[in-house]
Structures are given as structure tokens and as C-alpha cells.
Symmetry: C2
Subunit: 352 residues, 2 copies
């Protein structure tokens, strides 16, 4: 009869390509069970959005066939337990991910919304916090204009705001509490107080990832969040032109400041080019070419992906659903890949 030791020995030849160690050393193999004609075990990855999931499962099957038994049945349960640095956790939120830029209108909210949903589609428990006080985009992007979160009492008697759930993720925005026809002429301290409420007074429950959509600039919202919450990392969105890169660079410089020190998870280049339906071979680089790639090189940061200008992205945002909810849209795949890369970078951060 095959022993557990044989199975673990075989799996010790399977390396996690990100962590560059084998699955047994990484303590990723759980619940090994052996019957005369079947080996079952669980592989516990560090994120359900692991881009290497299929690759790892395949390698496990090969290792069993090669080192143990070619003929035996193999059942692998691919699961995940999202990691979190112990000192970097807020209540039950394992990873706070900031989506930022410095520059306005580059697609921060679009990337944040689709990233949050893509992580959820991959199986992660996800929340999205719209931290843009003056121009909250979340209510319109999720078709939640006029929605009002409920308040509930916790067991210890505190009043908590209940995030609104849509498309399987938890959502909060200052826009849920204000009149869309009114301006929010607030100075910094009011802004900071509002941001703290959205973090502290909300019942986020258990979350693997809380994606935070930041406003443009490097002001009160950014400082308040960086100083008060354990942020796991930041995704920078930029468009390719120099004026956008200059501001994105300021955004990165802020995260790299000693007093702030938030890891850079990578850079997304948005509005990279436009391709008319009638000329599918053509790419019009309206805002210039490869600016985001060059920025990633300059800061030695992962390049997470490139998104062209596509009318359906803008239309989806205007019509209450982030585009990634439509799996027939070719661009949805790109958002899923970006989400995998972000999750991967976070796992790597925690491992180091």
C-alpha cells in the first residue's frame, strides 16, 4: 500500500514558481488520503486568484505518476487561504489594496471596480471602498444611485454601517450618504473623518481583499489611509502620456516615502490605444505609446497589463456594471489576468 510519505516525497518535487520552493516545504499540502486505487489531497494556495493554479495542479499529477504510481487515480482539491502579514491586518480584512495614480481620470475607479470583481470571480472574499469623497464613482458604476446602506448593531452594542452587496462583493462609498446633485465642499479634516468612518464603522466581515479606489492627488485621503491602516500594497494606474506619468510618479514617490512605505504591486497602463472596428489591425496611440511600461521599468515594478480605449468599458461604467461581469467581452479576460498578477504580487510580498 502507498504511504503518505511516498506522496509527500513525490510532491516535494513540485515547485511553486512564485515562491521558488516546493509545495511540501511551503506547507501547502493538506489532507492526504490514500485508498487502494486513489490518492486524494488538498493544495492550499496563497490566493484563489493564483495565476499558476492550473500549472501546479498539473505538476502534482505528473509527480504522483512519475514517483508513485502511473495508474492510480488522483483527486486534487485546489483551495486557498489568502495570506496576510500579521502586522498588516485590520480586523478581519486580510489585504488592503490601494488603487491610485496622482493623475485624474486615468481609470483608477474603472480598474478598482474591475479588479475587485475579478478577485471575487476567482473565488476571493472581496470588498470595494470608494475613497473619492468629491467625485465618488462607485454608485453609478454599480447601478446603485440612491442606495442607502443600513445600520446594524453589533453584539457589543456599537452601530455599524452594512456595506451594500452587489455582484458578490461588499461596497461602500461616500456617495451612498450624499445627494448626487450637491457639491461636497469639504476641507481636509472633514474628508479625513469621513474616510475613517468608512473603514472603522463599517461591518466589512471577513475579507481576503479590500480594494480602495483613491481620488487623484496625494492629499488628505491618501495621508489618512496610509497613516491609519495597514495597507498591503498599491496598484498604480496611468495613461501613457508624459503629463500623466509625471503625476503617477509623484503618486509612487508618496508610497515610497519612509513614513508611508507601502509596497508597489505594479502598474496598469490604461487607455493605451484605440482600435476602430473597421480597422482591426490599427492601433491609434492617441495618448502616446508604452508610457506605463517605461514607468514600470523605471521603478522596477511589475507591469500588470495594458488596457486599450474601448467604448464598452466606458458604457459599462455608465450603465451600472463593471465590464468584467460580462464574460463575453474579450477585455474581461485582461482584467482577470491583472487581478491574478495583483494577487500573486501580494502573496510574494507576504512571503518575503
Amino acid at each position: 500500500m502507498i504511504t503518505k510519505e511516498q506522496v509527500l516525497h513525490a510532491l516535494s518535487f513540485v515547485e511553486d514558481p512564485d515562491f521558488k520552493k516546493d509545495l511540501v516545504t511551503l506547507n501547502m499540502i493538506k489532507d492526504v488520503e490514500i485508498t487502494p486505487n486513489r490518492i486524494s489531497f488538498t493544495v492550499e494556495l496563497t490566493t484563489p486568484a493564483c495565476p499558476m493554479k492550473d500549472h501546479i495542479e498539473h505538476a502534482c499529477r505528473n509527480a504522483i505518476a512519475h514517483f508513485v504510481d502511473k495508474e492510480i487515480g488522483v483527486s486534487i482539491n485546489m483551495t486557498s487561504r489568502v495570506m496576510s502579514k500579521p502586522d498588516k491586518q485590520l480586523d478581519n480584512i486580510k489585504n488592503i489594496i490601494l488603487v491610485a495614480s496622482g493623475k485624474g481620470g486615468v481609470g483608477k475607479s474603472t480598474v478598482a471596480a474591475n479588479l475587485a470583481l475579478a478577485l471575487q470571480l476567482k473565488g476571493a472574499k472581496t470588498g470595494l471602498l470608494d475613497a473619492d469623497i468629491y467625485g465618488p464613482s462607485l454608485p453609478m458604476m454599480f447601478g446603485l444611485e440612491g442606495a442607502r446602506p443600513k445600520a446594524s448593531k453589533t453584539s457589543d452594542g456599537k452601530t455599524k454601517i452594512e456595506p451594500i452587496e452587489k455582484f458578490g462583493i461588499k461596497l461602500l462609498s461616500i456617495g451612498f450618504f450624499t445627494d448626487p446633485n450637491q457639491a461636497i465642499p469639504w476641507r481636509g479634516p472633514m474628508v479625513s473623518a469621513a474616510i475613517k468612518q468608512l473603514f472603522n464603522d463599517a461591518d466589512w466581515g471577513d475579507l481576503d481583499y479590500l480594494v480602495v479606489d483613491l481620488p487623484p492627488g496625494t492629499g488628505d485621503v491618501h495621508i489618512t489611509i496610509a497613516q491609519n491602516y495597514p495597507v498591503a500594497g498599491a496598484v498604480i494606474v496611468t495613461t501613457p502620456q508624459n503629463v500623466a506619468l509625471a503625476d503617477a510618479q509623484k503618486g509612487i514617490a508618496m508610497f515610497m516615502m519612509d513614513t508611508i512605505d507601502i509596497p508597489l504591486l505594479g502598474i496598469v497602463e490604461n487607455m493605451a490605444y484605440f482600435t476602430p472596428a473597421e480597422l482591426p489591425e490599427n492601433k491609434y496611440y492617441i495618448f502616446g505609446k508604452d508610457g506605463g511600461k517605461h514607468l514600470a521599468e523605471k521603478f522596477n515594478a511589475p507591469f500588470l497589463g495594458e488596457l486599450p480605449l474601448i467604448k464598452s468599458i466606458s458604457d459599462a461604467g455608465d450603465n451600472g456594471y463593471p465590464i468584467v461581469t460580462d464574460e463575453d467581452e474579450p477585455i474581461s479576460k485582461e482584467f482577470l489576468i491583472i487581478a491574478e498578477r495583483v494577487a500573486q504580487q501580494l502573496s510574494l510580498q507576504h512571503a518575503n
Copy 2:
């Protein structure tokens, strides 16, 4: 011999189409001189960027020919003296024009820079103040990275910052005082103090128009300027999609607040569509259609113009010259028309 009374009588039949009164009543006719074969006079308009300039000159010639003498030579000196509401003037700055939006990245800085230059090209004394502390675009857009304004002593011993002159306009930006590689993690009070310095401690000299490029949002910069300076009016820039219109509307709502009360000069729709060179008949409405027009209708505000997505606008901004400085560019004409409409709206504001 023809008398001055005859000339004024003739010109009293010429109406200013904006003010709906005749030029004599409006006190626009100056320096009438009559020689046996020539009548000379000056028409003093309310702005050198008057869109009716040619029309008015033509109407004056017709009136003289019709009511005075068909054959006599007529010399008309078209000048202007920019108006300003007495209670709305800061030192020697006749009109402070804000360019704003609420939404980020819609082209505020692009419109502000080209508007300021277009007013100058029309003959007005113009300044441009970049009030975007976190993402100042002016230095790059004018090829002035690394430029440092000089300080000078005024006659009464105060130290004043000298705005930098380029393309005939006076320029100031917080970017002239900061390192482009550094973030500006400033909370609201520091931002307000910096803005006040750019207004108060700068030697702007005599200006017909000071165009102020605002950051996105409705925060400290906006409140500080609205509360401390006599603003003549605001130009709102928006792109056509709903998420941009929602924020632009918040921006407008702010200016309309009782405590702020800044006149709306009109709305510019930017990035309205894209036309590939190979398909000159096609318009791709990537961000939706006519959103800016609808916003103008909703607020009963003038629609100042529509700007398509054009690579050369973005390239010009990245390369240190606002596009309107290139008169061979077809889009430059559109910026000149927008500037005329803005100047016209200001004159109308003052007249009412």
C-alpha cells in the same frame, strides 16, 4: 463739412449684438476726427477677443456710408478695454476665470492653457495660474520643467514672486517650487497657504484675464479661492460620459452655492469623439455622445465648444507648447472660438 454729431447719429444705428444697445449709448465710440475726405474714430469693445469685432466694424462702415457720405474714407481703430466689476477686481487683475470640472483628467489643464493663450493671441493681457498642487501640469505643458521664478522687491519693500513669461503670458505653478520627482503629501491647510501665496505674493502686473487651472474635486483649493478672491466666472470642462457629467454637475453645484456664487461662463465638451486619419468621415464616440451639450442645457449655460480626441493635443501638452500656439493646426481655431465665447460671456456678466 461733416459734423461729429452726424457721425454719432449714424453710429447710433449700429447695435452691439451682445449688449443689444447701440455703440453710442454704450459709450464705445471715441476720438472722432473729421477731415474733408476722411472720418476716423475708435470703437472701444469690452474685450479684444470679441467674436463680433468684424461684424461691428462692418456695420459702422455701412452706417457712415448710408447716413453720412457714401464716398468718404473711413478709418476705424478697433480697440478694447476689458471690463471688470468694480467689486470683482483683485489689484490689477480685471477678471479671474476658473477652469474646473469636479472630474479628473477631463482636460481642465489643456483647456486652461489653450484658453489663456488664445485670449493673449486675441490681444488681451493674460496670466495662467496652475492651482493643482498635487499634480501641477503647467511646467510640462509649457516646457518649463526646472524653471524657477525670480523674487523681486516692490517699491514698498515687499518681496514678490515674478511670474515666468512664455508665449506672451504670465505663468505660475506650484510645480515651479517643488521637485518633480517628489510627492506633495500635503494636508488641506498647507494647500490653502500655497494657493494664497500664488495669488497674493506674485507680481501679476496688469492683467485683463487670469485663468486659473483648478484640480479635480471641490476641496480646499476651490474653497480657498472662492472665499478669498473675486472670481469673475467659471468654465466647466467635461467629457461626455455619465460618470464625468455627475462630477461636473457637483462642480457646478459648488459654484452655484449661495456662499460661493460664481457665475457659470459655459461648458466645454472635451474628448467628444475620435476620427482616425484613414476614416475621416467616421466619428467614434468612445465616451458617449453629446454629454456636455446636455449638461449645458440642463443648467441653461452657454455651450462653449466641443473638442475631439486628437493625438496632437496630447503630444503638444507633452512637448511643452499648448496646441493653440500652432496656427496650422485645425483645432487651434476651435480654441480661439472658445476663448471669444468666454470673453463675450464675461462682458455680458459685467454689463448685467
